[in-house]
């Protein structure tokens, strides 16, 4: 049995980045993810790697842009308000085809909100909070182990597609402590001949996302769109539990899926055929998996820590003729298994008259 270390989610992200070969970290303090910045401030210099605490999240994301352009694996971590400030930089990275990892440990919002865990940045993160036609891979961990594993995966996918990748836990997962299996460090980093490393023995490299003539810019956008299409085809990840015989499926991600897991188990003990589908990638969204399920299942219960954002994609996937109910919390308030169990029982007791 491989040894496990008890670790907080935020630390698992930091260590996952280091294991993935993250060569530069730029961050700004914002609860509930300060521990990532603090941990990196100690560990990155220890590893002989770059660390800067920046003057703002604007500076942080633009330093990520710079390090990515220099061909380095690079990460920043922030929380919702800071993530808002980073949207322009993320759009620039996608436009200039630069790989980088952005961790958004979501908290209660909008506005200053509070430091409780939440999922209210769903639209912003998945539908693109910056300007222009770009998409960003979004990975949603639901355990401290996944905080490490998905951070490592984020670096891999960022380099594979030369595009920013967002890791999207919430404040509960950031602070939670769970045993973690330490992964092997990545030693082979991909070559980046396009990077800014000095025009030595090669023609100059230019990295930009600017073209005054729209007719010349359009082909560049088309290249990006083909890239996102490839991501949709190849990179969908989700977990399905008890789906085969389920007549009611809970759809939930991140820490909401942890409460849903408990509710599902209790419901099963009560003899209710309930399953759980947990998206791990929010972009690319598992539309196909859900629409296949909907050929057999008529009832879906969406559990989210936001006001009905995630549910829109579930409805899109299963179709409007299916019953899709919402059980949720927002504003930093956690969603309990009991609330989800009540919703299940209510759905089962009141079949929709048709």
């Amino acid at each position: 049995m491989s040894s496990k270390t008890l670790m907080a989610g935020n630390i698992a992200i930091a260590e996952g980045a280091i294991l993935a070969g993250c060569q530069a970290y730029f961050g700004y303090p914002i609860t509930p993810q300060n521990e990532i910045l603090e941990h990196m401030s100690k560990r990155m210099p220890e590893e002989g790697r770059v660390f800067v605490q920046t003057e703002s999240e604007l500076a942080a994301i633009n330093m990520v842009y710079g390090a990515a352009a220099a061909g380095c694996r690079v990460m920043t971590s922030t929380s919702s308000p800071g993530f808002s400030l980073e949207q322009e930089g993320i759009s620039y990275m996608s436009g200039a085809e630069l790989p980088g990892v952005i961790v958004n440990v979501m908290r209660g919002g909008p506005g200053l909100g509070n430091i409780g865990g939440a999922q209210g940045d769903y639209f912003q993160s998945i539908k693109g909070g910056g300007h222009g036609d770009y998409r960003v891979i979004n990975l949603a961990p639901a355990s401290v182990q996944e905080m490490m594993d998905l951070t490592m995966l984020a670096f891999e996918l960022a380099d594979k597609y030369r595009n920013p990748v967002v890791v999207l836990p919430d404040g509960f997962l950031g602070q939670a402590m769970e045993p973690v299996v330490m992964r092997e460090p990545v030693t082979e980093l991909p070559g980046k001949p396009w990077a800014i490393t000095g025009a030595l023995g090669r023609p100059k490299n230019i990295i930009n996302s600017f073209e005054m003539e729209p007719a010349n810019f359009r082909p560049r956008v088309e290249l990006l769109l083909q890239k996102f299409e490839k991501i949709r085809r190849n990179e969908v990840r989700y977990e399905g539990i008890n789906l085969d015989d389920a007549s009611l499926v809970i759809v939930a991600y991140g820490s909401a899926s942890r409460s849903a897991l408990t509710a599902m188990r209790v419901a099963r003990q009560e003899g209710l055929p309930v399953g759980l589908l947990r998206p791990i990638t929010l972009f690319p969204f598992p539309y196909e998996a859900l629409s296949n399920l909907a050929q057999r299942v008529d009832n879906f219960l969406v559990a989210e820590l936001s006001s009905g954002q995630f549910i829109e994609d579930v409805r899109l996937a299963v179709g409007l003729d299916k019953r899709v109910e919402l059980v949720n919390q927002y504003g930093g308030v956690p969603l309990s298994a009991e609330e989800i169990l009540d919703a299940i029982e209510k759905m089962v007791k009141q079949p929709v008259g048709r």
Binding site: Q23, A24, F26, V50, V52, T54, E55, S56, L58, A59, A60, N62, M63, V64, Y65, G66, A67, A69, A70, G71, C72, V74, E88, G89, Y92, A96, I196, T197, G198, A199, L200, G201, K204, N205, I206, I207, N208, S209, F210
Partner: protein
């Protein structure tokens, strides 16, 4: 006389520096940017930095800057060039990144980035071209627009009660510990252009010696948006910009003064 009439026996006293691509400048007639770009290319050539220099462009009239040079270059979001350059330098300390920014980019949206790059003493170089107006967007007020000066967003002349006062960047940044060399120069006549080149060269040598951030503010004409024809624009610069933005070296740490003496002898 056409180029072909030049006999190889003749010595060239002056010609386009090798690090400047044969790429037309997009600037308006008489714009100072064209002079500053040429000087940077001359300095990169003379210091033999083609394989190490990195042009960190900003957003403004100089947005195409990486196309003009024959070495690596990249774009930055408006105001963020010092952050981008910080990351490049920290990831590859052997590279010589320099930001090329206008007064809107550096002194308006990018103020935090340049102040904190200076506060951290990043080992980068910043070429800051101050023409007291937003050029690319058609002549609006800049942070360096003079009191009383016309712009498309100060139609009756800049009024402090409404739009505040112009910012003296060199004076502001030279109060910080991090900068090793801060100087303000101008391109209003050949002698001033030569001084500008010396300042740019010393700034690059400051970075080469790893002494901290070097910043050169260059007062530059913008005939189109000053609504003055090019030759008159130089006179306008002397009469109006120089009093508000006195030329000179605002910070020269000891080690840079030593560099300058050596340069004097070299």
């Amino acid at each position: 006389m056409a180029k072909s009439d030049v006999s190889e026996l003749d010595t060239a006293l002056y010609h386009r520096p090798e690090s400047l691509e044969d790429y037309p400048f997009h600037f308006c007639p008489g714009c100072g940017h064209g002079i500053v770009f040429r000087l940077i290319a001359e300095v990169v050539n003379e210091l033999n930095l083609k394989e190490r220099a990195v042009c960190v462009a900003s957003v403004g009239c100089s947005v195409n800057s990486y196309h003009y040079f024959n070495f690596d270059g990249l774009e930055s979001a408006h105001g963020r060039a010092p952050a981008v350059a910080t990351a490049i330098k920290r990831c590859h300390p052997h590279l010589i990144p320099f930001t090329y920014q206008g007064d809107g980019d550096l002194a308006a949206i990018g103020t935090a980035e340049i102040v904190h790059a200076c506060a951290r003493g990043e080992n980068i170089t910043t070429i800051f071209v101050n023409n007291a107006i937003y050029g690319m967007t058609g002549g609006q007020m800049a942070p360096t627009t003079l009191v009383g000066m016309y712009s498309t967003s100060t139609p009756d002349g800049r009024k402090p009660a409404l739009s505040g006062y112009p910012i003296r960047v060199c004076e502001m940044l030279s109060t910080l510990e991090g900068p090793a060399y801060v100087a303000r120069v101008s391109v209003h006549n050949p002698a001033a252009v030569r001084k500008t080149k010396q300042a740019i060269k010393l700034a690059f040598r400051t970075q080469l010696a790893g002494l901290g951030i070097s910043l050169v503010e260059v007062l530059s004409p913008c005939p189109t948006n000053w609504k003055v024809e090019p030759v008159k624009a130089l006179e306008w610069l002397v009469e109006h910009l120089l009093p508000q933005y006195p030329l000179g070296e605002y910070k020269v740490i000891e080690a840079v003064a030593v560099l300058r003496k050596e340069a004097g002898r070299a």
